[in-house]
């Protein structure tokens, strides 16, 4: 069976599922997707808890003591 046919059959079957069943499928597919990626796209799997909630948005301030007024 070719890929487009498989895709169409899966989509047709998905239409008949309940929301709860769709959630199970979503988690399964997400796990499959996760296991197939590596490198930068799996970086979040190695995330740490720094306790700093604005580190990304305010990294200038933490690194250079730069404030929005300096922009």
């Amino acid at each position: 069976m070719d890929a487009p046919t498989v895709r169409r059959e899966i989509l047709e079957m998905l239409e008949r599922l309940t929301p709860e069943q769709l959630e199970v499928i979503r988690e399964f597919v997400a796990q499959m997707s996760e296991s197939s990626v590596s490198g930068l796209y799996s970086l979040h799997e190695h995330a740490i808890s720094t306790g700093v909630s604005d580190l990304a948005a305010q990294h200038d301030r933490y690194l250079y003591q730069r404030t929005p007024a300096d922009a």
């Binding site: 239409e15 930068l40 970086l43 995330a47 720094t50 700093v52 580190l55 990304a56 948005a57 922009a71």
Partner: protein, 130 residues
């Protein structure tokens, strides 16, 4: 007729860019579970991964990211980030632009010509644009 969840999430995936530039915010948000942007960054990373979107970054960005995670307790993450960059580069899914002398000179020229530019006005922002 309302669209089904299948239509919305499977048949009509959001358009993905041809390539995406990873700046410091991307690395920091993904690497810091405590970050307010972490969830959104993970969601976007998954979407980009599913589309196999190529990543572009620079060694200047990586320097800033390593400095951000330079504390001793955070250093293992910094090393993991470098490993991840090298893995992605080896797979061909990421390109690290090296800030060599000619690129640096062009970035400095842009920096000199655009004194009005704010927000991303540090030199690596100009390197990205070059």
């Amino acid at each position: 007729m309302p669209r089904s969840t299948t239509d919305i999430y499977i048949r009509e995936p959001p358009p993905m860019p041809e390539a995406v530039f990873w700046d410091s915010v991307a690395y920091i948000a993904l690497g810091n579970r405590s970050d307010a942007l972490h969830g959104a960054a993970v969601d976007l990373s998954r979407q980009l991964a599913a589309a196999r979107t190529p990543i572009v970054t620079t060694d200047a960005v990586l320097t800033e990211v390593l400095n951000t995670f330079g504390r001793v307790a955070w250093r293992p993450l910094a090393v993991r980030i470098i490993d991840a960059v090298q893995e992605s580069a080896a797979e061909g899914t990421a390109t690290v632009v090296r800030i060599d002398a000619p690129l640096w000179e062009r970035a400095v020229q842009l920096f000199r010509e655009r004194p009005d530019r704010v927000g991303t006005d540090r030199l690596h922002g100009f390197c990205r644009d070059e």
